[in-house]
C-alpha cells in the first residue's frame, strides 16, 4: 500500500507552481474541449483537480504494482523468442496496470484520445515510475516519441498512430547503429521509395535500440542514396504489425535489465515518412532527443529518490557500536548531501519542464493560428531557456543519480553489495543515465553555448530581478559566485581566442557549465524556500554549502590553468 505521489510532498509542491496557471490556460486554449468531451476540464481549478487525482493514481500504480515487480523483472529479464521480444512477466503486469489506469498519451491532444495534460504531469509520472523501476520507466517513457509525431507528422499519420498510444501502444526510438552512436550522421540503414505501395522500404541493421520490438517505431534512415552525412537522413514511422523486422539479440546489460535493448534487422520493412525528407537528424531527432533528455532527468530524479529512501531506511535500522549508524557524521553527511541535491535537482528539472512546456505549447498554437508578436517573442524566450536548461538538468540529474546511489550503497556497507537489498539494483540502473541520450560529456557540449552566449547569465540576472526574499548572507554569496563565473568564463574565452581551435574552451567547458548549474540550482531552490521556508530553507542552506565548494573548486582549477594544460594532458597519455 505505497503511493509514490502522496508520500512525496516535493512533487506535489511542483504541481502547484504559480506558472501552472499560464501553462494550463495555454494548453487548454480557453477550455474549449469542455463542450465536446466528457472528460475535459471546465476551468483551471477543475484541470488542477484532474492532475492531482491522476497523479495520485500514477503514484498508486508505481507504489503498489511496479515497485514490487522490480526485483523479479531484474532477475527474469526479457527474452527473444522466435525473433521477437517477450517481456518479463512483471513487465507485462506493469503494462497492464498502467494501461488500465489510462496513462497512455498523457500529453497528447484529446482529438487523439490523449489526456491533454501538461508536460509537467508526464515528467512527474516518469519520476514516480522510475522510482519504482527505472528499467520499466525506460520503455514506458518512450511514449514521448508520440509527441514528436504529433509535432511533425501529417494529420493522417497522427490519426493512425496517436490514438493507439493513448490505448497503451509502446514506442521505440530507432536511431543508433553499430557504427553510428554519438555520431548519428553516420547512420546507414537504407530507405528506398516503393512506387507500387507508396511506402518507403527499410533495409539494414539497428543496434542498442531500447524497446526495439515496440508497437510503433520512429526510425532514422538514409533516404537519399549516395549521401554520407546528416543531410541524407529522414525520419520514418514503422508499425510493428508489418512484422518485417527481426530481433537478432537483446543486449545483456549491467542495469535496467527489464528494458529490452535490441539489435534489429529490417528487411523490406514498410514505413511512412514523418515530415520532410532530409530533416530527419537535423530537425526531428534533435526534438526527439530534447524530449528524451527531459525524460532521463525524470528517470534520474526517480532513481535519486529511490536510492535516498533506501539509504535513509537502512541507516536508521542498522546499528553498529551500540547505535544506529545514522548518528555517525560520516553517514548523515552523505544523507544530507543527497537530500539537498535531490531538492535542488528536482527544482531544476521542473523549472526546465515549464520552460519547455510553454515554448512547445506556443509552437502548437502557432500551427492553429498566427501568434501575436508578443507571443512569438515569449516563445523564443522560453525556447532559448529550454535549449540551455535541457542539457543542464540531464547533466546534473544523471550524475546525481549515480553519485547518490553510490553513497547510499556505501551506507549499506557489505550488505549493499549483495542482491538482498534494492540499492544494488538501483546503482546498476543509475549507471546508464549519464551515458544514454547523450553522455554527460555531450551534454556539456550542448550546454556550453548557453554559457558563452549568455543564456545562463541572463537568466541568473532575471532571477535577481525577481527580488526573491532570502538570507542576506546567501544573497551575497550568489553575487560572489556570479562574479567568479563571469571571471572564469572571460579567462577561458580569452585563451580560447588566442589559441583558436586548440581546445582550451572544451577542456574547461564542464567546469563552466557546472558552475552556472550550481548558481542556477541555488536560485531555483531559493525561490522554493521563499514560498515554503518550513520545507526548503534547510535544504537550501545545505545545497548552498555544496555549491560553494564545488564552485570554488572549479574556479581554482580554471584560475590555475593555462593553455599549456591542453598540451600537458595530451602528453601524459602519450598522444
Amino acid at each position: 500500500m505505497a503511493n509514490f505521489y502522496l508520500d512525496n510532498k516535493d512533487i506535489q509542491f511542483q504541481l502547484e507552481h504559480p506558472l501552472m496557471r499560464k501553462i494550463v490556460e495555454l494548453k487548454e486554449r480557453g477550455f474549449a474541449d469542455a463542450h465536446t468531451c466528457d472528460y475535459a476540464p471546465k476551468n483551471f481549478e477543475d484541470a488542477m483537480d484532474n492532475y492531482r487525482r491522476v497523479m495520485e493514481i500514477t503514484g498508486e500504480v508505481a507504489g503498489d504494482v511496479i515497485a514490487p515487480n522490480a526485483e523479479g523483472v531484474d532477475l527474469e529479464k526479457p527474452h527473444v523468442v522466435d525473433d521477437h521480444v517477450v517481456y518479463a512477466s512483471g513487465t507485462v503486469q506493469n503494462l497492464k496496470a498502467i494501461n488500465d489506469a489510462g496513462l497512455g498519451g498523457i500529453t497528447l491532444p484529446r482529438k487523439y484520445n490523449g489526456l491533454n495534460f501538461p508536460l509537467v504531469c508526464f515528467v512527474m509520472a516518469n519520476e514516480m515510475v522510475a522510482r519504482a523501476d527505472a528499467g520499466f520507466e525506460n520503455l514506458w517513457g518512450l511514449q514521448d516519441c508520440a509527441e514528436t509525431l504529433n509535432e511533425f507528422g501529417s494529420e493522417e499519420l497522427k490519426m493512425k498512430y496517436l490514438p493507439r498510444t493513448a490505448e497503451g501502444a509502446t514506442w521505440a526510438m530507432t536511431l543508433t547503429e553499430p557504427d553510428a552512436g554519438s555520431d548519428l550522421g553516420a547512420v546507414m540503414l537504407k530507405a528506398t521509395f516503393d512506387e507500387k505501395s507508396g511506402k518507403w522500404l527499410l533495409n539494414g541493421v539497428k543496434r542498442f535500440i531500447t524497446n526495439g520490438d515496440g508497437d510503433i517505431s520512429l526510425v532514422l534512415a538514409r533516404t537519399e542514396e549516395g549521401t554520407k552525412d546528416a543531410r541524407g537522413l529522414s525520419m520514418l514511422v514503422y508499425d510493428r504489425k508489418a512484422m518485417c523486422h527481426k530481433v537478432r539479440r537483446i543486449e545483456d546489460k549491467f542495469g535496467i535489465k527489464g528494458s529490452p535493448t535490441c539489435e534489429l534487422v529490417f528487411t523490406n520493412a514498410p514505413a511512412e515518412l514523418v515530415g520532410d525528407r532530409k530533416m530527419g537528424l537535423i530537425k526531428y531527432v534533435m526534438a526527439l532527443m530534447n524530449a528524451a533528455r527531459l525524460g532521463i532527468g525524470a528517470q534520474s530524479i526517480g532513481l535519486c529518490e529511490a536510492a535516498y529512501r533506501e539509504g535513509l531506511k537502512y541507516a536508521g535500522e542498522r546499528a553498529q557500536f551500540g547505535k544506529a549508524i545514522i548518528n555517525f557524521p560520516a553517514v548523515y553527511e552523505m544523507l544530507g548531501n543527497a537530500k539537498a541535491r535531490i531538492a535542488a535537482g528536482r527544482a531544476l528539472l521542473y523549472e526546465t519542464t515549464r520552460f519547455v512546456e510553454i515554448y512547445k505549447t506556443y509552437e502548437h498554437i502557432g500551427h492553429e493560428r498566427e501568434l501575436s508578436s508578443e507571443e512569438r517573442a515569449e516563445m523564443k524566450h522560453y525556447q532559448k531557456l529550454a535549449d540551455g536548461y535541457t542539457p543542464l538538468q540531464k547533466l546534473f540529474l544523471s550524475e546525481y543519480a549515480n553519485s547518490i546511489a553510490y553513497d547510499m550503497l556505501q551506507i549499506h556497507g557489505g550488505s549493499g553489495y549483495m542482491k538482498d537489498y534494492p540499492i544494488e539494483r538501483i546503482v546498476r540502473d543509475a549507471r546508464i543515465t549519464n551515458i544514454y541520450e547523450g553522455t554527460s560529456q555531450l551534454q556539456v557540449v550542448a550546454a556550453i553555448n548557453a554559457v558563452t552566449k549568455g543564456t545562463y547569465l541572463g537568466q541568473i540576472e532575471a532571477y535577481e530581478a525577481e527580488g526573491t526574499s532570502m538570507d542576506s548572507g546567501l544573497r551575497k554569496q550568489l553575487d560572489k559566485w556570479k562574479g567568479m563565473f563571469v571571471k572564469m568564463t572571460e579567462k577561458v574565452e580569452r585563451i580560447e581566442a588566442e589559441h583558436k581551435g586548440e581546445g582550451f574552451k572544451d577542456f574547461h567547458a564542464r567546469r563552466l557549465v557546472e558552475t552556472a548549474g550550481h548558481i542556477i540550482m541555488t536560485w531555483v531552490l531559493a525561490k522554493e524556500a521563499a514560498v515554503r521556508p518550513e520545507d526548503y530553507s534547510v535544504q537550501l542552506a545545505t545545497f548552498a554549502k555544496i555549491a560553494d565548494y564545488k564552485i570554488a573548486e572549479a574556479f581554482a582549477a580554471v584560475e590555475a590553468s593555462e593553455w599549456g594544460d591542453v598540451e600537458l594532458y595530451r602528453t601524459v597519455i602519450g598522444d
Binding site: M1, Y39, A40, R53, D100
Partner: protein
C-alpha cells in the same frame, strides 16, 4: 446465446482496520472511526474486478454497485465508477440504522429485486465485521443459488463456471443464473482507477450531496444521467418494515472486550495427554471452544 448481463456488485464502505494505530479503539472499547479512514472493503474490490472482467468479455453488460450505508458511502460508488462500473445505488435511510447481517441482507435483497440482475457478485466478507454472512444471506432471501470462495468467474449463456478456493485445493463448479457469487481475497486484485473515467465521473453525486457541493458539480450532475448515483430510502425498495434496522436484527451485542494478549497470561504445556485434556476442558468451560 446471452451476451448481455446485468451484474450487481455488493460493496461496503469500512473503516481501514488493516493499518490500526494506537488510537484505533476508544477507551470504551468501540471502534474510533475518526482515526480509521473509510475505504472500499478489500474483498468487495476483488468482487468488482470479477464483474468488470465479465463486462470485458461481454461489453454490453452493465455493472451496478449496490451499497448500504451513510451518505458518505457514495465515495466507494464513485471509486467503483472510476474503475469501470457503470453506476451505482446507495441504499440509505435512518430506518436501516443498527442493522445486523440479517437485516442488512434483507434490505439489500429488496433493492436487488428492484434491480433484477442476472448475477450478484460480492466480497466474501468485510474487514470490520468479518462475518461472511451478507452475501450468502442475500442469496437465501432471494432464493437464488450461491457459490462462495470464488477466485475466477466465467459465464457462458445461462451457466456460470466458478473456481473456488478451498482449504485444501480448488474446486470448479457450474451453476445456473441467476446466482450470487462471493469472491475470495485471493482472486485477482482490482484494476486501478482510470484517468479518463476519473475526470468523467468525479462529479457523480447522490442527490443529498447536491446541498454540500458547489454549483458546477450540481449543474453537471443534473444535466447528465451518468453523473447521477441513485439514492434509495427504505420506501423505494418496498420492504416489510419489521425486518429493517434494529428491529429486524436478532443479533444483540452483549459485551465488547478489548483483548490484549500479554506474556503473563500465557501458559506453557508439555505434550502429555493429561495436560492437553485439561486445556480442552478449561477452554470448554470458559466457552472459548464449543
Amino acid at each position: 446465446m446471452k451476451e448481455k448481463f446485468e451484474i450487481v456488485v455488493l460493496a461496503k464502505q469500512v473503516p481501514d482496520t488493516r493499518n490500526v494505530g494506537k488510537d484505533a479503539m476508544t477507551p470504551e472499547g468501540t471502534v474510533n472511526r475518526a482515526a480509521l479512514p473509510a475505504i472500499f472493503n478489500p474483498e468487495d474490490l476483488n468482487a468488482l474486478e470479477q464483474a468488470l472482467r465479465l463486462k470485458d468479455v461481454y461489453p454490453q453488460s452493465t455493472v451496478t454497485v449496490l451499497s448500504m450505508g451513510p451518505h458518505r458511502a457514495a465515495d466507494i460508488i464513485r471509486d467503483a465508477m472510476f474503475r469501470g462500473a457503470d453506476g451505482g445505488v446507495l441504499l440509505t435511510d435512518r430506518k436501516f440504522a443498527g442493522a445486523d447481517t440479517l437485516a442488512t441482507s434483507y434490505a439489500l435483497s429488496c433493492a436487488v429485486r428492484k434491480l433484477n440482475p442476472d448475477i450478484i457478485v460480492a466480497g466474501r466478507q468485510a474487514i470490520d465485521g468479518d462475518t461472511a454472512q451478507v452475501g450468502s444471506q442475500v442469496a437465501e432471501k432471494l432464493g437464488w443459488p450461491q457459490v462462495t470462495y470464488a477466485e475466477e468467474l466465467e459465464v457462458k449463456g445461462e451457466v456460470a463456471r466458478v473456481k473456488r478456493r478451498l482449504e485444501n485445493g480448488v474446486e470448479v463448479v457450474e451453476c445456473k443464473l441467476p446466482l450470487v457469487v462471493t469472491v475470495n481475497g485471493s482472486a485477482a486484485d482490482c484494476r486501478p482507477q482510470n484517468a479518463k473515467r476519473i475526470m468523467k465521473y468525479k462529479y457523480a453525486l447522490i442527490p443529498t450531496e447536491y446541498d454540500s457541493c458547489g454549483g458546477l458539480s450540481v449543474d453537471l450532475a443534473k444535466k447528465h444521467d451518468y453523473l447521477q448515483i441513485k439514492e434509495w430510502g427504505a420506501d423505494a425498495v418496498d420492504p416489510d418494515p419489521s425486518q429493517l434496522g434494529l428491529e429486524g436484527s436478532p443479533t444483540k451485542v452483549k459485551k465488547i472486550e478489548n483483548v490484549v494478549f500479554q506474556l503473563k497470561e500465557s501458559k506453557c504445556l508439555s505434550c502429555t495427554d493429561d495436560e492437553i485434556n485439561a486445556l480442552i476442558v478449561e477452554l470448554l468451560e470458559t466457552h472459548t471452544l464449543g
